[in-house]
Every structure is written in C-alpha cells, then in structure tokens.
Symmetry: C2
Subunit: 180 residues, 2 copies
DNA sequence: AGCATATAGTTAGGAGGCTTACTATTTACA
DNA sequence: TGTAAATAGTAAGCCTCCTAACTATATGCT
C-alpha cells in the first residue's frame, strides 16, 4: 500500500554532495531534510493504510466518514461540500460515496430545497464502524509520537510550518526559482 | 495531482480535545503533529508532482531515472533491482519501464549471462531530460527549506527520526504469529 | 418571462499503483 | 542427470484517483 514512490534507502549525505558538483542548485542539507520528511510521511501513511485496509476501507473513504462524523454536521453534508473540504473532485466523491453507500455506511437523502443536491448522512452502521476503527487508529497515532515530548511536538509543528511557508512561497503564481 | 487524501483545513486543537472525550485513546497533541506532518508532506509531493507533470513525467518514472543516473550504475540495472530499491512490485516496474522506453529515456538490453533478465540503461535522451529537469527541481527543494537555517534542518531531521522510531515500533507491535 | 450561465452530481475513460497468475530460465540437489 | 523449486519479467484485471463531457436544476440579467 505504498502511496508514495520513494527510495527505500535514502542516499547518503556524501552522495548528495557528490551530485551537487554536477548540479550547482542542489542544496544537500535541504534535499536530505526533504527526503527524510517524505520518507517518514510515506511510512506513516502506509501504516495507517494497512490498518484501514484490514478493516476494508480506503484512506479516501475514511476521510469521508470522519468528515461526516463531526458534531457540527447535524443535517448531513452536500457531496460538493465534501469534495471542497477534501480537496478532491466531485467525481472522486461520487465514487467514494458509491462505495460507502453500498457498504451501508452513508445514505444519500433528497435535499429539501435543491432538487439537484443530496444530503449525505452517516448511518448508524457507519457510526459503529468508526467507533470500532478509531480507538486503534488513535493508539497508532499516539505510538507514532511516543518518543517526542510535548515540547518536541511543538518544535516539530513549528519547523513543519516553516517548510509549509517555503512550499506556499513556491506555489504562488509567479514564483520562479530564481526570485527566491 | 494530490496523492494523499487529506483535509484541506486541519481541525482545530479544541476540536480534537472535544473528540478526545468520546475517544479516550485520542492524544490531541499527537494527532495535531501527525496531521501537520501529513499535510506538509502532501503539499510538498503535490508541488513536485506539478513540476514533473509539466515535464510529462510521473513521480515513479522520475524515481527510475534518478536511480539509473547514479555514478555507481555503470552497466545498467536489473528491473528486479529497481523494484527492490524502490519498494514496488516488479509488475509496477515493468509498467514504468514500458513508458520510459516508449519515450526513449531508457533501453532494455539483453543480459549477457542470464537470458531471463534485462539490463536497463539510461539513454542519452534520458540523461538530457534529467539535466533539464533537475536544476529547477533542486531549486524547488532549496526554496522549500529556505526558511530553516542549518540548525533547524538538523532539528527537523532529528525530530522526524523520532517519529520514524515510533512508526517502526508500531510495525513491530503489529507482529502476529501468522506473519512470521 | 426567457434565455444564458452557473452549479449539483454522474458517467466514461485514463493513469499509476497493486495483486495474482503466467512463461521462460536458472539453480539446487537427489 | 533429471526434476522440483526459485527467480526474471510480463499480462490481466482491480482500485483510487484524475479530467472531460454530460444531464438536470437553479440563478441572474435584460
């Protein structure tokens, strides 16, 4: 279930420095940090995915269920709302909902005001499924961070936020590598 | 190109604490750190993917080319070797190589000693392609880490390594008699 | 009011992973 | 030496995501 295609073993730092001779733009420290980040994220994702798969669900379907399980969602959600919050297309949501509906975890209700739309609601079965699934999922997350104390977790979040700022700076429309 | 299905906006800390009442195993700090980690990794991956896509290549094909471009690979690689190092199945590698061969970036040569096997080699065109692609890729990585100084990068790598230890511990925990 | 445009959701088909099952060759060993 | 098991690579078919094109309904402008 590896969702990311990455090297199993990361290149050594000396290897990167070697490569930097051919590519002057290569910043060995930055590449190393990025590779570690992606490697860890990939492993975490794979771990979650394995747990979900054992329970017969995909990451995408899990996200939809979690979205519907929030207390602020009392009268269901529109598929388009789900798509927006998940950052995927409506077509993808249609597929996810098809699967979840077939499993009996959600239901499509007529929308009272807009005849184009549906209200998606979590069924009792869906709620029960989450109640079964989540305790272990949360224990896995706690285990993941078990070696970091509160202060280190905050540091990690802070450093990742700086990475995110770097990412966003690049995402800006007229970003070009040499303006930064 | 989002490879990971995640919430666009992460839940607030108070939301997590609220949920922790229903699920005692939920450690709000751990969940928050995990979500930030996955969110950032997903954004980074999407950024890379966008650059690759503009150049008509996928993450997987990129990894194969990079693997073949190392100085230690002088006489090509076996597809099975590529699969092992990438952590994907041979069938997947077959597909990646089909695409790369069609584009003229790699060639399948007869193996001199084993008639079942091929030597996969980077062509001149493949090498040129990388020489075009990589400078911007490396500039993107440098931009990503632009807001972290050397010390912070080391801290980040250190903290991520602790997360990795947690992940590995979990993997061991998951050990069951029939997986052995 | 009437028509153009926008929006909700679905369908169809594509790409890139995966698993499973297959063929061809090599290796091990009785 | 002969045969069983291991290994290299491929093929077929599934899953989940995507984009593009489509139907039905709602909205907005004149």
């Amino acid at each position: 279930m590896p969702e990311l295609l990455l090297l199993r073993e990361l290149p050594r730092y000396e290897m990167l420095q070697e490569k930097a001779k051919r590519y002057p733009d290569l910043d060995a420290g930055a590449v190393e940090a990025t590779l570690v980040l992606m490697r860890v994220a990939s492993d975490v994702l794979e771990g979650f995915g394995a747990h979900f798969a054992r329970n017969g669900i995909s990451q995408g379907r899990y996200m939809v269920l979690m979205m519907l399980d929030r207390p602020c969602v009392s009268n269901g959600m529109l598929p388009s709302e789900i798509a927006d919050k998940l950052g995927v297309t409506r077509a993808t949501v249609t597929g996810l909902l098809d699967g979840l509906e077939k499993d009996g975890f959600i239901s499509r209700q007529m929308h009272p005001e807009d005849r184009r739309a549906f209200c998606i609601e979590l069924t009792g079965k869906g709620r029960d499924f989450l109640a079964d699934l989540l305790p272990e999922h949360y224990r896995r997350i706690a285990g993941l961070m078990a070696h970091l104390d509160d202060d280190e977790r905050r540091q990690l979040v802070g450093l990742l936020s700086k990475v995110s700022r770097g990412q966003n700076a690049m995402h800006d429309e007229n970003w070009t590598p040499d303006t930064n």
